[in-house]
Subunit: 470 residues, 2 copies
């Protein structure tokens, strides 16, 4: 077991809290043992002492929905239960809440920050979340109802309306008093400062507030030129801005510049992680919501549609070969070079497409860069083409003792390497141009082309030069 | 150009600052025009008004090292210049500083936070960074020298020694006074509280400090059980903890629990982004430092070694086909099914390996989960195997009118789908077990197996049943 430890399990020397992943296998084993023994009292004490994020992780690892529900019900107090809910992923949350009455959910979530409330409600089926909203007190549900209006994955959908703002004529002393009197509004790092029209004009940190003379007016000490986003800004763009400018929170403003809410850095971290996973999954033909612990039948439903598409593209490659069946019957050694030419093209293309897709996702590529990147990848294609064309050409010539073999195999390899660089760049740029996510199955499209064209080059040339090969 | 806009370029309605990516193409065009016209005065005003992160982005997009150096020299004041340095990537930084005298670098970086100083020095060649350190005043270089001792990519290497800590008997009022008198120590969000042995015992936020009566002692209001890491904790593990527990900063402590430094959330965001890129690149056989804007010859040097490895594995697949050349000569249509069986196996395996590698990176998989995941992926392999085995088997039978074709092609597909699930799980788990990064070229290894074994199943069965095929 020790050697199978995953990286996150490195013992964390000197850690005070001990709530690190190093002990996670032990925790899961204990929970499993207590569940089997039915030692509910012990289990209850155990989960109630844990951090909500850790309880969520335990629930994620349990095998059955029944076990998840049992453990969830043991969390005390309700406040922790609600926090655990906000840490769960959509699948776990659905399984756990499926039999919980709407009235109970309404009570559970009422003290959560409004962005977490919105998250929980968004994970429920539409009719259930409407039911929960109706059962909440109007004053508790007003803000979350607003948040639920926004398109998923936009700034509006992930912001919280719990932030701290003051007019610019407020003094530092008054601001501190206001802050002391404010009800708990979660993580407050910045004070947003507004003009008489309620428009955002500047921002300052709590620390700055402490370091100026008490009568200083906020308007005289703020950083103006605040970086903000609109409610419909894509969450990926929000994450890029927070990352680039090292922000702890970014305000969301309306068309007039009035603050509607704030997105905090902890939610941005979730966005960054989620978007990276989504891109990796999409390139591999996996739906973004696929999970390693999903039941077999669920995973089958998620993965097989893509494999069906793959099969169609594989038939295209097979179809290309079928056209040249007669040539292969005369020179069966061509089949030896088929996987070499096609595979090498596919791998070179995957290198290109991966770097293009990732650079786009990171916002490194501007529209003006398209031509420059294309030129570069074509140059690389030529270099690789000459290099690998020569290598396999010479080897094929040496093996078969005929220059024709060297020419056919080498040229096919050269052309396919060029195609790989060209298409590895054009496919993601093209997908972007038609407003599709460049990551979606771009690997599948690419390898279809490098297979089909690789076979065309190899078998087509062989057909033309068949006299030299046999 | 509008349609080629990348997602990050959406116009950001209502943004006050205007420093969003929507105007980035325009900025780059202006910089290019001013450079060509030699309008140095205008260029200087332009870059000096920009956020250091934006200047770094402009520099990244410029074509030549010469242009980068020209624009960099125009940044005023030196403080901004230093901030731009800390925002540059390693390649750009090397190009820009290559001709700058060590003495000048020493002056430039002296006011940067120590973690940024360490970053800049780490990007320089070893002898150059030693020279810069020698030219810095001992009081300026002491802390950064300590930081440079730590292994790259560990908590020690990315922490800053600029944090704020106080003994537990301090009162809230005293703490606020201390904070007001402290020199600017960058982003301070938490006060770390220590016992008489200087060991970390708790943490509180600035906000809490404001909300308690002035004479409250810190020891009575802190959150104990602080989540911390050791200097040698891997940066990926640090990022996971910060993400899981929604922290703004995480303290780094020694074996006795004394605080040595702090890692802030903005650096954690960089780690998360960098590690995701690294995993994507590794799976595609790209070195982690490859960049879309690297010169052609540099990219060629970075990408070709992996393609050489690919070529070797492609020869293994070709070699397997060569063994059965005689069979193909008798039944050339086998070559039609070769890419179908091998390609479908490769794609199914890539799905599996992608989800396993990503789940490992996110810390979702504990050692105890290995068997459960393997069982699941084998079950999925069986389902896919039966489904796709039947589909291609029936199609092959229909096409060739012989049950033998259906049996050979269908069985080969079924077996290869099973292999795909098995190896897609075992390869990353095995790489982890021998302490290798499961992402490294796992795609290459996998498709080698699905190619080689797919051809073995298809052509081996065909050889056994050749009487039924011809």
């Amino acid at each position: 077991m020790d050697r199978m430890d995953i990286k996150a399990d490195r013992p964390d020397k000197g850690t005070g809290g001990g709530r690190t992943a190093s002990r996670f296998d032990v925790i899961l084993d204990s929970v499993g043992r207590l569940l089997r023994r039915g030692a509910i009292g012990n289990l209850e004490r155990m989960v109630s002492k844990m951090h909500p994020a850790d309880v969520a992780k335990v629930l994620h690892h349990l095998n059955s929905a029944q076990e998840k529900r049992t453990v969830f019900e043991l969390i005390k107090p309700d406040r922790s239960k609600a926090q655990v809910l906000s840490e769960l992923d959509e699948g776990d949350l659905g399984e756990i809440l499926t039999d919980v009455p709407a009235a109970e959910i309404a009570v559970l979530i009422k003290d959560l920050p409004d962005d977490d409330q919105a998250y929980v409600l968004n994970c429920l089926p539409e009719d259930r979340s409407q039911e929960v909203l109706k059962l909440m007190k109007p004053e508790d549900s007003a803000e979350v109802k607003d948040l639920l209006q926004y398109e998923p994955k936009t700034a509006g959908a992930i912001m919280t309306t719990e932030y701290f703002s003051l007019p610019e004529h407020t003094t530092a002393e008054e601001a501190i008093h206001k802050l002391q009197g404010a009800k708990d509004t979660g993580n407050v790092f910045y004070v947003y400062v507004t003009d008489t029209g309620d428009r955002l004009v500047g921002v300052l940190s709590l620390r700055q507030l402490l370091q100026v003379p008490p009568h200083t007016r906020l308007g005289t000490m703020i950083k103006r030129d605040v970086i903000s986003v609109a409610t419909d800004t894509d969450q990926e763009e929000v994450a890029k801005l927070v990352g680039r400018y090292n922000l702890l929170a970014i305000p969301v403003v309306d068309a007039e510049g009035r603050v509607l809410g704030v997105i905090t850095v902890d939610d941005v971290i979730d966005v960054i992680t989620e978007e990276a996973t989504e891109d990796m999954f999409r390139m591999a033909g996996l739906p973004a919501d696929e999970s390693i612990f999903a039941p077999v039948q669920v995973s089958a439903r998620r993965r097989i549609p893509w494999l069906m598409l793959n099969l169609l593209t594989a038939f295209m490659a097979g179809g290309m070969v079928a056209i040249f069946e007669g040539t292969i019957a005369k020179a069966a050694a061509l089949a030896v070079f088929m996987p070499i030419v096609a595979g090498q093209g596919g791998n070179a293309g995957i290198q290109t497409i991966t770097i293009v897709v990732r650079s786009m996702a990171l916002g490194e590529i501007e529209a003006r860069d398209a031509r420059r990147i294309l030129n570069k990848e074509i140059s690389l294609g030529v270099i690789r083409g000459i290099l690998f064309g020569l290598i396999v050409g010479v080897l094929a010539w040496g093996w078969k003792g005929e220059w024709g073999w060297g020419f056919v195999v080498g040229t096919a390899m050269m052309l396919n390497m060029l195609v790989a660089g060209l298409l590895g760049t054009l496919i993601p740029l093209g997908m972007k141009a038609v407003r599709l996510d460049p990551a979606i199955a771009s690997g599948v499209f690419l390898t279809t082309f490098t297979d089909v064209l690789g076979f065309l080059f190899l078998l087509g040339l062989a057909t033309l030069l068949i006299g030299q090969l046999t």
